[in-house]
């Protein structure tokens, strides 16, 4: 799945979080190697925010382990200095000006790149004297992101960062993110419920559905491990025995299977095709909630 020499920026084992009766995250085990841009994808309510908050140390796990940059998340300057977190609601002080937020960041952080944040805000045409309450949603998101980046974190956790941005700003923002990661020393985990937002930029994927991790790994590896099989309508027990069936679509004349390969597929009746990222994600997301693997969804089956 990944080279053993990779240093892990994030590692969780059996991470579970309950809020009263609702289980927001169940037994999540993920790894994100350093230097990746990881897309945390899942439908609304899948547990993306919970996972990010656990990584940031804003929430405590009910059970399981979290390791971030080699240590447990802590309310300690040495941890906080290395981790940037941007909440989905973009919490900022509405009555502060943009400049006062920059000043607050300078006062609250031992490592702070004030020149960078001023230059970034200037390039975004966000005036320092403006009150935050008067900024547009997109400007607020950009300001919050600039403040987070000015900490020069080693791990950046972004909860739906592009939701408030228009398509152009979205592309620009993701390009900047890729650039920052390319400069080295930065790992990013960013969530979205839309894969299309992140597909271009990310090289790592965490797929959450119904509070459980469905997939986690480098996108190239994941794509190579999966295959789409297209063949006639026939019994697929043998294939299901040899490989892990993720998702199946059966019509009267044709069967389409998404499988996780455990070796070469030898059934000559099926034509094997590479799988696209979107196909892969949709295949996993349309699984019914519950234990995996082996359950399959049948769509359009005629009785």
């Amino acid at each position: 799945m990944m080279a053993s020499s990779d240093v892990l920026a994030v590692q969780t084992r059996g991470l579970t979080k309950r809020y009263r009766r609702v289980t927001a995250l169940r037994g999540a085990s993920i790894t994100v190697p350093e230097g990746r841009i990881s897309a945390l994808i899942g439908p609304n309510g899948a547990g993306k925010t919970t996972l990010l908050r656990l990584l940031a140390g804003l929430a405590r796990p009910g059970s399981g382990d979290v390791e971030v940059l080699g240590g447990r998340p802590a309310q300690h300057p040495s941890f906080l200095a290395n981790v940037g977190f941007l909440a989905q609601e973009i919490p900022l002080y509405r009555r502060f000006t943009v400049g006062e937020h920059v000043a607050a960041g300078a006062h609250l952080n031992s490592r702070w790149d004030g020149a960078y944040v001023r230059q970034r805000l200037a390039s975004l045409d966000i005036p320092l004297g403006q009150r935050v309450g008067a900024l547009s949603g997109g400007q607020r998101a950009q300001l919050a992101l600039s403040l987070t980046l000015a900490k020069r974190p080693r791990l950046l956790l972004l909860d739906e960062p592009v939701a408030a941005l228009d398509p152009l700003a979205r592309r620009h923002f993701l390009a900047q993110l890729a650039e920052a990661v390319a400069d080295g020393g930065l790992t990013v985990v960013l969530s979205s419920h839309l894969l299309a937002d992140l597909e271009q930029t990310c090289d790592h994927l965490i797929l959450l559905a119904a509070a459980s991790v469905q997939l986690c790994g480098d996108i190239d590896t994941l794509l190579a491990e999966h295959q789409v099989l297209i063949g006639p309508r026939k019994d697929t027990t043998a294939i299901e025995r040899d490989h892990t069936l993720v998702h199946a679509v059966r019509t009267a004349r044709q069967t389409t299977l998404l499988i996780r390969r455990s070796g070469p597929v030898i059934d000559p009746a099926f034509e094997a095709a590479d799988v696209g990222l979107e196909e892969l994600v949709l295949g996993y997301m349309s699984q019914p909630a519950g234990p995996r693997p082996g359950r399959l969804t049948t769509i359009g089956e005629q009785q």
Binding site: L58, A81, P91, Y93, A104, H107, L108
Partner: protein
């Protein structure tokens, strides 16, 4: 952190500073007038032969002003509601704690600096108001021997500082627990008022055992002197038991004992012939009058004890706040 606290709360500081300045100016001007009025009245009384009871003839200042000064009893509660209540609750409500807690400052330090400054400010404001009121009231204290009385005790000396620290700690803790500003403010008012009433009415008189003077009928009884605090008065029964009656708002009473509480046969004598009334009471088995009070010399001991109680409660509330803020999820 201090920069952030100042930026977040400077408007509250400006408003409170302006209010305090107006109040101080008002009290300084009128306080000097009252002091002058008292001084000349005393001089006139000393020169005159007919002046025996200055207090019954002299009214210091205007009733409206006295009312305003009495109303400073709500200052600690206001500080608790407007400074304490929103301190943590507003951050949790608007999510800005998530911004603050992901900067390079530990949650512990964030809380300590915020709470530290607001408590310091509350103590300073309550102390300033109390100092002004105490100074302003000093002629009235001397004239009416009133500063140990409930109502006056609560707005003078050091207890207002204790009340203010308690109120602010209560507001902070309520906000941390409820996580919403307006309900936290409401809870602050309710709990503060309840506790102040309970402690003021039921607990304070028991800080130290009251001194009781018993005077047998016909003997000249010692009377407490100075700014003592009267706890109860009444009759001494056959076996030496103290029979006190609730203080009467109106109606005739003898040494605080309502005439209606006396044996029916003695009642008519209360007005007509006090000496006969006493012998009537003796015939009915009563042995004398008693007076229970807290001596004037205990004023500062009581101030200290009451302040200490509120400081302890405030410390407990801050501890609860710390546990909630540091342990709970953001």
């Amino acid at each position: 952190m201090t920069w952030l606290v100042w930026r977040q709360h400077r408007n509250q500081v400006y408003i409170a500073a302006a209010a305090l300045a107006v109040f101080a100016a008002l009290l300084l001007v009128t306080g000097l007038q009252i002091a002058g009025q008292y001084r000349s009245a005393r001089a006139a009384c000393a020169a005159s032969h007919s002046c025996t009871n200055l207090a019954s003839n002299l009214t210091l200042g205007s009733p409206l002003l006295s009312l305003l000064v009495t109303l400073t009893v709500v200052v600690p509660c206001l500080l608790g509601v407007f400074w304490g209540g929103p301190l943590v609750a507003r951050e949790l409500e608007t999510g800005t704690n998530q911004f603050a807690w992901m900067q390079g400052v530990s949650r512990r330090r964030w809380l300590a600096v915020k709470v530290g400054w607001v408590l310091l400010a509350a103590a300073a404001w309550a102390g300033a108001v109390s100092a002004l009121v105490t100074w302003w009231s000093s002629p009235a204290n001397a004239l009416n021997q009133q500063n140990f009385q409930p109502g006056q005790f609560d707005i003078q000396g050091i207890v207002p500082v204790g009340y203010a620290l308690f109120a602010v700690a209560l507001g902070i803790a309520a906000g941390a627990l409820i996580r919403r500003t307006v309900p936290a403010m409401a809870v602050t008012v309710a709990v503060f008022t309840f506790l102040r009433l309970v402690i003021g009415q039921d607990l304070r008189s028991h800080y130290l055992a009251a001194v009781t003077i018993i005077g047998r009928f016909g003997q000249h009884a010692r009377t407490p002197t100075g700014s003592y605090w009267l706890i109860s008065r009444g009759l001494v029964g056959r076996d030496g038991q103290l029979l006190s009656a609730p203080p009467l708002e109106s109606g005739l009473s003898v040494n605080g004992v309502p005439v209606s509480e006396m044996p029916a046969a003695c009642r008519p004598l209360a007005l007509q012939n006090p000496v006969k009334m006493l012998s009537c009471l003796t015939e009915h088995g009563y042995r004398g009058f008693f007076t229970s009070y807290q001596p004037a010399g205990r004023y500062w001991a009581f101030q200290g004890i009451e302040t200490g109680i509120y400081l302890l409660i405030a410390a407990a509330l801050i501890a609860v706040t710390a546990i909630v803020v540091l342990r709970r999820d953001a």
